[in-house]
């Protein structure tokens, strides 16, 4: 027990500093040189202080959004992999992101031009789409099974994923060229949220999900081995499955509606962390969240600087950097 606590403390310290450094460092990096002294100089009115505007309007919200989305997707990935007892599961396996994408596509092509508290119709519609997908998949998993069949959950999710993907293509095909391009861009992920409104909208949902995640690790440890064994050890399997499913799905929906379906983090970060700290969910779950946050913030710095002034979609960067890095780590470990 003390051993776990110790390892937890060490990994929190290491990965926590990593995430902290990323969030603090990212707003300092960019193609436009800014002077920190000027950024925090209160004597210059904000409207005239371009350095402060670049720091507070352009870079800081991006870094925070990257941290939130990265942490959420990585943690949700851990939960889904344990819940479905499948190492290939991702936050997007059960159709949550496809539902979110469909919602966003519809909002774009139907030209819903509303916005509320800085949250655009596209963001709201994508969250609604993800909830729809969650509802359908859950209803399927309950329908034929007293309880909660993870096999049916997986099959229903995968099927819903391809069904929604077909609908997305259909909507895109019917859309105008301009809208088709916007939808394509949305699917590549984007953290340039220009302000804090969208961030504040996603934050409460993610916080609730993380509170649920904090309750899960011990049960996930047992569950990821065998549900019967978990039940015999006093785990309320159904309840744990339900909490895991809903919290991870909701968190994924919030993250995707904030930054788009940024791939790769939800599957690679958990495995990366397991390679480093072992399989205990009490450590893997929080460590993945921290590493996911650091990784996405760093990837976004690359996205906005690599080809500047042209902005690169961050979803491309995550896979482009993460893929080879993970393969290298995998080969080196063997």
């Amino acid at each position: 027990m003390t051993d776990v606590r110790q390892r937890l403390a060490v990994s929190m310290l290491v990965f926590g500093s990593l995430a902290f450094l990323a969030v603090i460092g990212a707003p300092l990096l960019g193609t436009t040189p800014i002077r920190l002294a000027r950024v925090f100089d209160r004597t210059i009115p904000f409207a005239d202080n371009v350095d402060a505007q670049i720091f507070f309007i352009a870079r800081l919200p991006r870094a925070l959004a990257g941290a939130l989305v990265g942490a959420t997707l990585a943690a949700a990935g851990v939960v889904f992999q344990a819940l479905l007892r499948n190492p290939l599961a991702t936050p997007f396996t059960l159709g949550v992101s496809a539902g979110a994408a469909l919602g966003a596509m519809l909002a774009i092509t139907m030209r819903l031009h509303l916005s509320l508290w800085g949250v655009s119709a596209v963001t709201a519609a994508s969250f609604a789409g993800s909830l729809c997908a969650v509802g359908i998949v859950y209803a399927m998993a309950r329908a034929r099974h007293r309880g909660f069949s993870t096999n049916i959950l997986l099959l229903a999710g995968v099927t819903l994923n391809s069904f929604f993907s077909a609908l997305i293509l259909f909507v895109q095909y019917l859309a105008d060229s301009a809208e088709a391009l916007r939808t394509m861009r949305w699917l590549m992920g984007d953290l340039d949220i220009a302000g804090y409104g969208p961030l504040l909208a996603a934050l409460p949902l993610c916080v609730v999900a993380f509170v649920a995640f904090a309750w899960l690790p011990r049960a996930l440890n047992l569950l990821s081995l065998d549900t019967d064994a978990a039940a015999s050890r006093g785990v309320d399997v159904l309840r744990v499955q339900r909490v895991a499913f809903f919290s991870a799905s909701m968190a994924t929906g919030a993250a995707v509606s904030l930054g788009g379906p940024i791939g790769f983090i939800g599957i690679i970060i958990p495995h990366l962390v397991r390679l480093m700290v072992g399989a205990d969910h009490r450590i893997v779950l929080p460590a993945s969240a921290l590493v996911g946050a650091a990784f996405l913030v760093a990837a976004d710095v690359v996205a906005r600087t690599a080809m500047a002034p042209v902005e690169l979609p961050v979803g491309i960067i995550t896979a482009l950097i993460g893929g080879p890095f993970f393969l290298w780590l995998l080969v080196r470990q063997r």
Partner: protein, 346 residues
Amino acid sequence: MKLGAEGWGLGARGWALGARDSGLGIRLTAAVLALVLLVSAPNARRAVVAFGLPPSPAASADRRSLAGGGQPPGGRTVESGHVPQRIVALVPSATEMLFAMGAGRRVVAVSSYDHYPPEVERLPRIGALVDPDVERILSLRPDLVIAYASQTDFLAQLERARIPFYLYRHGSLADITAGMRDLGARLGLAEQARAAAAEIDRGLMDIRTRLAGRKRPRTMLVIGREPQSLRAINVSGGYGFLHDLLDLAGGENIFADVKRESMMVATETILARAPEVIIELHYSDRASPDAAAREREAWKLLPGVPAVKNGRVYLLYGGELVVPGPRVVLTAQAFARALHPDVLPH
């Protein structure tokens, strides 16, 4: 008003789920990127005439750019003296050119994106870049089809049906009048086409001379973004007819150094490059003052940008804004009015 499929890639049909033409559309046009990917022979920028029956469209791409007559490899003799009388135009700017040079009565069908001149509204629509309706086109028995060079499968079908085609390629502002004269020569209307092209050149030259020697405000030309937010901002780079028009209308494109037709930029870049004027293109014909005000309001998120601070964010509405055809003079005038309101009052 639909966004013209003029080289904007992915020209899918415009009947977007019953929401068409509703509301204030910021109709984004990053699509140029897609076009660049689609165009098969990017080095040949001028429109070229081609017909005949070569073995495959890909193999004949180079020959085709030189074509215009002679003996194609398929062995069929080209009727070089034939003047087309039944034209199917899949390219909105070409349709406008045909009408401008007085060949409007020869047009038998247009693309799904054509809305100008008003006469086209009664003509059959036969698809666009990605979805030309081959059966209907064949049934109309055209003797010339104006198509995009990237439509290779479609062009192969036309070749098999022995229907001559004229390839349209999208390029700079100068290519518009050059393409118009070229098309006129193909239709036996060289004189009329020259006259119409000269009128466009005169209109553009007039704007250029009136603004000569004036200070050129640093301008950002936004061709799309997410409505009512500053996400996914797509701007004109330093290439293409929109950039050329901005330059002609006395504006200095802040992204002139990036030789691309369109590009996504981050809010940071906009803050750093500090445009004095922001011109934003909306491809719907009009918007309610309310909706326009709400869209302008979105820029308040970047209060430090000089254009925002000084109230110099201009939202332009009009289907002609994206069509590199005879109406570019209108676009140039609209740009000039925004950039130099003292010279060309509203």
